[in-house]
C-alpha cells in the first residue's frame, strides 16, 4: 500500500481496530465498514457510545450510514476533491495541529526550484512529465539539494518553497463550492464535517480514518489514501491512540499476502524483486539501500532472506544465491499476464483460493483467458466458476465458447478448510494470529502447504536428476521441512524459518525449543544438522550470511524462547498485547513516538501512549523508536542508519524520520494528490484540463474499451460493493444455505427518481450495460440511493453487489462482467468503484440473442480507443504493452 507506505514508512494500517474506541471522531470513507467488517465496526459503535462523531461519506446510504451521525453522499471517484477540500479548510482557518505538523512532518522541508505543481500550469501535470513515455521522469520532486536524509527546513513554514506553502497552493482551488460542483456534497454538510474533524484534533483529542477498497480500486487509489494521510498528519492523528488510518482488508490474510507476498514485484518484508540490470548483488543493494533510516539495513534483510531460501547453497562466493532469483523485465502483474493468457502466451496457471471469473474485472475476458491455457490447477473448497467455466459459463450458454473446443486441461484439487490445517493469518491491523488444527480434512482435501510441499519434493527430485544449469535454483532450494502424518510440512517449522535463526547449525534432536533456542532439533529431513538458535528480532539479522530470516518484518514471532507468539492467547491490555503478534516487534500502534510531544512528555493525560521516562521510552505499547534515544538527540553530521534519525522524528523508516505530507520519491503519479476524473466519467475535470490520471495504465483491447467523458450512451455512474451476507466472489458464501438465503438474488440499487425515469418498479428486472458487457439484476428501488445534484444537473448512480456468479446455491450475473481492466500507475489495480453504464428495463436476452442486444446498446465494433486520453498501444509505458490484436 504505497499510499500509507510512502506517507509514513510502512504499508499497513497504522493502528488496531479496538483502538477506534478511543477516537473522538471517525471518518469512514471508501468503505461500508458495518457491512464488510461488522465485527470491526463493533469498536466504532463503542466510540459512538463514548460520544464520538461517526461520519460516513459514500455514494450509497449503506448499513454504515444508517448508524453514522452524518452521512454525506459523494459521486464515486471524487474523494480527492472532498478530502482536498478539508485540507484547504484546515489550512485556511488555521485549524491544523501546528506543533505536530512543524516537528513530525515534512511540511517545513524546502523543495528544489525545479518542482512544478499542476497549479502552475493548470493543465494537471507535475514537473517531469514525459508525454511520449506517459510517465514522470527526473528528480524535480526531491528536496532542495536532492538529499532526502538531511532536508533543509523552515520551521516557520513561511518559505514559499516549503512543502506547507506548496500544499496550501496546491489545494487552494478545492473550495466548498468546488466540492459541491464535483462531489455533489452540499456546502453546509461539508462545513459540518470539517468542523467535526477539526474539533477532534490537538493534544486532547484524536480522530481516526477508516477506508477499504472504496478508495484503493480507483485509477488514483494510492493518491486518495495519500490525501487522507496528509489530512491525518495535519490533524496530528498518526501514532496516537484513537487516531491513525485503518486500512480495512477484505480477506483473512490479505495483509499477510503482501507482507509475505505472492506478488511479482516484491520479496518478503517489502524487499524489491531484482529487475533486469540488477546484475550483481552489490549493484542491486546499491540501488535499493538507503543511507539513513531503518532501510539502511536493507542488505541484512535481503541476505537473510536469501539464506532462508537457499540455505547452505547461499554462500558469500555466489552472492548468497542472488543469481538464483529471477529478474523482472517489466510489469508482470495479473492484468499483464492475463493478456498473455488471452494471446496464448501463457501455458499453465495455478488458482489457489481466488475466483477471477467472478471476482476480477471484465469477467468475459477472464473466462476467455482461462480457456486459452494449456493446463490449469484450481484449489478450492467448492466447484467455483473459474473451475467450471468450460461448461457452465455464460459464454458457453451463448455459444461464444464450445466445451468441446476448449483445450484447457484442468486439475481440481479439493482444498482443506481453515479448521483442517494450522497456520497464521495476518489480519487488517498487522496482527499475526495462529490457527490450531482441529480435524483432518475430509477425503482428498489437502492444504495448500501440502500441495506446494509435495510438488516441491517432486520437482527438486527431478532437478537433482538433471544436470541442466537452469535447474540450479531448484537444486539449491532449502527444503528441509519435517512432515506430519498427512504429508503436510509442519507449519511451525515454516514459521521458525520465517522468524529467522542463526545459520551455524546446532543439532539438538529435540523437537522443539530445548532451552538453547534451537527449534525442530536444528536438523533437516535427512537428520543432518541444519540451523542454529532462533533470532529474537530483526535487530539481530546480519548481512554476512550468519543469519537467515524468511520475512524480516515478522522476526520476533518465534524467538529463542520457543514460544509461537502468533498463537499467544492471553490478552493483557486493550491493545491486545499477549494475543497474537503484531509486526513489527509486536507494536500495536506504529509511529507511536508521535504520541509524545517533541520533548518526550505525552501530549495529554487523555491521549498518552508512550513517553520518555528520562532514560528510555516506556508506556502502554512497544515503543517504535530506539529504546534509549533521548528526545533531544541530535545526529552529528554524516551519521548513518538509525543514528541519523533525530530524537523527535517518529517516522524512522523515512530517511528524514518525518511524516511525508509531500512524497519526494516513490510515487509514479505525483508528490501531492491531484483530482482526476475516473477513466469513465459522465463529466470532465472541473479543476484541470487533464481528465484522467496521466501515468494511468490503460489496457486497450477490443473487449476492454472505455467510454469517453460524458458519453450519452452511458449516462449513469456505476459503483460496486459488498454485502454483509456474502463474501467476495461467493465461493465461501453462495454455496452455503444459511448465507445464500439471506441475499438470494443479484440486484441493482437505484433511486426512486431514476426508477421513474426508467419506468421501472421495485423488483422488476433491469439490464445494466457497459462497453464491456451486459448483465441482468432485480431493481431494488430505495431512497438509500439518491441522485446527486452537481453543477445544476442531476446525476444518477447505480450500485451493484459483485458476489454473484453461475455456480452455487443462489446464482446471478457477475457485476465484474461490466468492469474494465485498467491499472493504477503504482499498484496496477483496476478501477472497480467508478465507471459509467446504461440501464435497460427488462430481462437480458439469453443464448445468441445476447450478442445482438449488447451490440445494440454498446456497439462492439469500430475503433478500440474511444477515450481521448487513452493511449495507442505503441506509446504504452510500463503496463498495457499488449494491444488489441489477439482474437478472442
Amino acid at each position: 500500500m504505497p499510499g500509507l507506505g510512502t506517507s509514513f514508512g510502512r504499508g499497513g494500517a497504522t493502528t488496531a481496530q479496538q483502538d477506534l474506541a478511543n477516537a473522538d471522531c471517525i471518518l469512514i470513507e471508501g468503505s461500508s465498514m458495518a457491512e464488510a467488517h461488522p465485527v470491526g465496526f463493533r469498536w466504532v459503535m463503542k466510540a459512538k457510545e463514548r460520544g464520538a462523531t461517526i461520519i460516513h461519506v459514500d455514494p450509497r446510504f449503506s448499513r454504515t450510514s444508517a448508524l453514522a451521525d452524518i452521512w454525506a453522499p459523494i459521486r464515486a471517484g471524487t474523494d480527492i476533491v472532498f478530502l482536498g477540500g478539508l485540507i484547504r479548510h484546515l489550512i485556511e482557518h488555521n485549524l491544523y495541529f501546528h506543533e505536530y505538523v512543524v516537528h513530525y512532518t515534512n511540511a517545513s522541508c524546502i523543495l528544489s526550484d525545479e518542482y512544478g505543481d499542476p497549479e502552475d500550469s493548470g493543465d494537471g501535470y507535475f514537473s517531469g512529465w514525459n508525454a511520449e513515455k506517459r510517465a514522470y521522469e527526473g528528480d524535480s520532486w526531491v528536496y532542495k539539494g536532492g538529499d532526502l536524509s538531511r532536508p533543509e527546513r523552515d520551521l516557520t513554514l513561511q518559505d514559499p518553497q516549503c512543502v506547507f506553502q506548496k500544499l496550501k497552493r496546491h489545494f487552494s482551488r478545492y473550495t466548498p463550492e468546488m466540492v459541491e460542483k464535483i462531489c455533489g456534497i452540499p456546502p453546509d454538510l461539508f462545513h459540518k464535517i470539517a468542523h467535526c474533524l477539526a474539533a477532534a484534533s490537538g493534544p486532547e483529542r484524536t480522530a481516526a480514518v477508516c477506508y477499504a477498497v472504496g478508495w484503493t480500486q480507483h485509477s488514483k487509489g494510492v493518491q486518495i489514501i495519500r490525501t487522507a494521510a496528509i489530512l491525518q498528519l495535519l490533524l496530528g492523528n498518526i501514532g496516537r491512540p484513537g487516531g491513525g488510518i485503518l486500512a480495512l482488508r477484505g480477506h483473512a490474510s490479505i495483509q499477510g499476502s503482501t507482507d509475505i507476498p505472492t506478488l511479482y514485484d516484491i520479496l518478503p518484508g517489502y524487499l524489491t524483486m531484482p529487475r533486469k540490470g540488477d546484475e550483481t548483488l552489490q549493484k542491486y543493494l546499491d540501488n535499493y539501500t538507503k543511507k539513513t533510516g531503518l532501510w539502511s539495513n536493507y542488505p541484512k534483510y535481503l541476505v537473510s532472506t536469501l539464506k532462508a531460501y537457499y540455505g547452505k547453497s547461499a554462500t558469500l562466493e555466489n552472492d548468497f544465491g542472488y543469481g538464483f532469483l529471477p529478474k523482472l523485465t517489466g510489469n508482470h502483474s495479473f492484468f499483464e499476464f492475463l493478456y498473455d493468457m488471452l494471446d496464448g502466451k501463457m501455458e499453465g496457471m495455478f488458482l489457489m483460493g481466488q475466483n477471477p471469473v467472478v471476482g476480477a474485472p471484465n469477467g468475459r475476458l477472464q473466462r476467455k483467458a482461462l480457456s486459452k491455457l494449456k493446463w490449469l490447477v484450481v484449489r478450492e473448497l467448492v466447484e467455483i466458476e473459474s473451475a467450471n467455466f468450460w461448461r457452465e459459463s455464460p459464454e458457453v450458454e451463448r455459444g461464444e465458447l464450445k466445451t468441446e473446443d476448449i483445450e484447457t486441461e484442468i486439475f481440481f484439487f479439493p482444498a482443506a478448510g481453515h479448521a483442517e490445517k494450522e497456520g497464521a493469518f495476518t489480519n487488517t491491523q498487522r496482527l499475526l494470529q495462529w490457527r490450531e488444527k482441529a480435524v483432518d480434512p475430509p477425503g482428498d482435501c489437502r492444504s495448500e502447504a501440502w500441495f506446494i510441499h509435495q510438488l516441491a519434493l517432486r520437482l527438486i527430485a527431478k532437478a537433482k536428476a538433471s544436470d541442466d544449469p537452469l535447474d540450479e535454483p531448484l537444486r539449491a532450494l532449502d527444503w528441509w521441512y519435517p512432515e506430519d502424518h498427512l504429508g503436510d510440512p509442519k507449519m511451525e517449522a515454516v514459521l521458525a524459518e520465517i522468524n529467522g535463526w542463526y545459520t551455524n547449525p546446532v543439532a539438538t534432536g529435540a523437537d522443539r525449543g530445548a532451552g538453547d533456542g534451537v527449534l525442530f532439533g536444528g536438523i533437516d529431513r535427512q537428520g543432518n544438522p541444519h540451523h542454529g538458535p532462533q533470532v529474537n528480532g530483526f535487530a539481530e539479522l546480519k548481512a554476512d550470511g550468519s543469519t537467515a530470516s524468511g520475512a524480516w518484518i515478522y522476526s520476533g514471532v518465534f524467538g529463542r524462547d520457543g514460544v509461537n507468539r502468533a498463537n499467544a492467547r492471553k490478552s493483557r491490555d486493550y491493545l491486545g498485547h499477549g494475543w497474537g503478534f503484531s509486526w513489527p516487534s509486536d507494536r500495536r500502534i506504529i509511529y507511536n513516538r508521535a504520541s509524545a510531544r517533541p520533548d518526550g512528555r505525552p501530549w495529554s493525560e487523555r491521549k498518552k501512549l508512550i513517553w520518555w521516562d528520562s532514560e528510555k521510552w516506556t508506556g502502554l505499547d512497544v515503543a517504535g523508536f530506539v529504546q534509549g534515544k533521548a528526545p533531544d538527540y541530535e545526529p552529528e553530521v554524516g551519521a548513518e542508519g538509525l543514528d541519523a534519525i533525530p530524537g523527535d522524528a517518529p517516522f524512522i523508516l523515512h530517511e528524514d524520520g518525518l511524516g511525508w505530507i509531500y512524497v519526494p520519491k516513490g510515487l509514479k503519479d505525483g508528490p501531492f494528490p491531484t483530482h482526476y476524473e475516473p477513466l469513465e466519467s459522465p463529466v470532465s475535470n472541473e479543476l484541470y484540463s487533464r481528465d484522467t490520471n496521466p501515468p494511468e495504465l490503460w489496457f486497450p483491447r477490443s473487449k476492454n474499451r472505455f467510454a469517453p467523458p460524458g458519453d450519452s450512451r452511458f449516462p449513469f455512474v456505476l459503483t460496486t460493493y459488498r454485502l454483509t451476507e456474502h463474501h467476495t466472489a461467493g465461493g465461501m458464501s453462495r454455496f452455503l444455505s444459511h448465507l445464500a438465503e439471506l441475499q438470494p438474488e443479484m440486484f441493482a440499487e437505484i433511486s426512486p427518481e431514476l426508477a421513474r425515469e426508467l419506468k421501472t418498479r421495485n423488483g422488476d428486472y433491469v439490464c445494466i450495460v457497459t462497453l464491456r458487457g451486459a448483465i441482468e439484476a432485480r431493481a431494488l428501488v430505495s431512497r438509500r440511493t439518491r441522485p446527486l445534484h452537481l453543477n445544476g444537473r442531476t446525476l444518477h448512480q447505480v450500485a451493484l453487489p459483485y458476489h454473484y456468479g453461475t455456480a452455487g446455491l443462489v446464482r446471478g450475473s457477475a457485476a465484474n462482467d461490466l468492469l474494465s481492466i485498467s491499472g493504477e500507475p503504482n499498484v496496477t489495480i483496476m478501477e472497480a468503484k467508478a465507471c459509467t453504464c446504461n440501464i435497460v428495463p427488462g430481462r437480458l436476452p439469453r443464448g445468441r440473442a445476447f450478442a445482438e442486444f449488447l451490440n445494440k446498446y454498446a456497439p462492439q465494433t469500430g475503433p478500440v480507443v474511444l477515450h481521448p486520453e487513452e493511449p495507442q498501444r505503441d506509446v504504452m509505458a510500463g503496463g498495457g504493452g499488449h494491444a488489441m490484436e489477439g482474437k478472442e
Binding site: F41, D69, F747, S782
Partner: protein, 288 residues
C-alpha cells in the same frame, strides 16, 4: 475456561437454570447494524434448515417473518423520518423537510409472561422452563397446530414437508440446551454490536428503561419500549426498544393472550349444551 471474566454479559458463563433466575433478551435497534449474524448463528446452533431462497425486494429483508424455520428475523425499515439528530446528506441536512432513516431490529419469540402457545398446547409439549422461557419439546409435539393460532405475535409455526423434522411446531428455544450448560443463547453471543443483550430479566428491564431515557435526551423523540405489560400478556421476556409505532414493525399494539376469551366462549358453549338438552327433551315429551 474460555469465556470467563469477559466484560459483556453476552459472553459470561452463568448458572441461571440451576438458580431458577428469570432471564431475557433486550434488543436495541439503535445499535443494530442489520448484519443478520443472529439469524445465522441461531440456525447454525439449532440446525434449523433454510427458509427458502426468494428475493423479496423489501429493503435487505429476504427472511420476511418469524416461522418454523426462522427463529431470529432482522427487520429493515426505510422510513421518511429522522433518526435522532442524524444528518443524512441532502440539500437540507436531512432534518425536517427531507428526512430519511433506515432502522434494523432483530425480532424473536417474545417468551411471554402469559404465553398463548403454552396455554394452548394440549400435549404438554410446550413448557415454561426454570429461566422463565417458553420451550417446545420436539420429541413430545404431535403437531396439532393449535399453538399456531394461539400466539398473539405470530411467532410459532408448524414445519411442513419436505423439510427435516416436519410436522412439529417450532420456534426459538432460547437455546435452552446452551443455557443448561451455562452458555449464552447463540444469537446474543454472536451479536457484534451487542444490539441483542442477554441477561437477568430485572437487570435488562432497568437497563432498557435507562436506554430509552438517554435516547430521548438525544433527540430520539419516538424511542419507546415495546413490552406490553398492560395487557393480559403481562409483559414479554424478550422485549424491544423501538423507534415509532409497534405496527410498523408488525408488532401488535395491544396483544392479548387468547385464554381471556375462554370464559365467554365456554359460557356460550354450556348454554348451548343445556338449551339443546332442554329442547330435545321437550320435543320428545310433546311427541309422546
Amino acid at each position: 475456561m474460555i469465556g470467563e471474566g469477559t466484560h459483556s454479559t453476552n459472553q459470561r458463563r452463568h448458572n441461571y437454570v440451576q438458580e431458577n433466575v428469570e432471564v431475557g433478551f433486550f434488543t436495541d435497534p439503535t445499535v443494530c447494524i442489520g448484519c443478520k449474524a443472529c439469524e445465522v448463528a441461531c440456525k447454525e446452533w439449532n440446525e434449523v434448515p433454510d427458509d427458502g431462497f426468494t428475493w423479496s425486494g423489501n429493503s435487505y429483508d429476504n427472511t420476511g417473518h418469524l416461522g418454523a424455520s426462522t427463529w431470529r428475523h432482522v427487520m429493515f425499515l426505510e422510513q421518511d423520518r429522522q433518526k435522532g439528530s442524524q444528518l443524512v446528506g441532502s440539500h437540507s441536512l436531512g432534518n425536517g423537510e427531507d428526512p430519511f432513516r433506515w432502522v434494523f431490529l432483530s425480532d424473536v419469540c417474545k417468551h411471554c409472561e402469559e404465553a398463548g402457545c403454552l396455554e394452548a398446547c394440549p400435549t404438554g409439549s410446550i413448557v415454561r422452563t426454570e429461566v422463565g422461557s417458553v420451550l417446545v419439546q420436539n420429541d413430545v409435539c404431535n403437531g396439532c397446530g393449535y399453538c399456531v393460532v394461539s400466539c398473539p405475535f405470530g411467532v410459532i409455526d408448524r414445519r411442513p414437508e419436505p423439510l427435516p423434522n416436519a410436522g412439529g411446531a417450532f420456534k426459538c428455544t432460547f437455546c435452552y440446551d446452551r443455557q443448561k450448560s451455562g452458555l449464552v443463547p447463540a444469537c446474543a453471543k454472536v451479536c457484534p454490536t451487542e444490539s441483542i443483550v442477554f441477561g437477568r430479566l430485572d437487570d435488562l428491564r432497568a437497563r432498557a428503561t435507562k436506554r430509552v431515557e438517554d435516547l430521548r435526551q438525544h433527540d430520539y423523540n419516538d424511542a419507546q419500549l415495546y413490552d406490553p405489560t398492560g395487557t393480559s400478556v403481562r409483559g414479554i421476556h424478550a422485549f424491544f426498544l423501538i423507534l415509532g409505532e409497534p405496527e410498523t414493525y408488525g408488532l401488535p399494539p395491544k396483544p392479548e393472550v387468547p385464554t381471556i376469551y375462554l370464559k365467554s366462549a365456554w359460557t356460550a358453549a354450556f348454554a348451548t349444551a343445556i338449551a339443546s338438552l332442554i329442547v330435545t327433551l321437550l320435543a320428545f315429551a310433546f311427541s309422546s
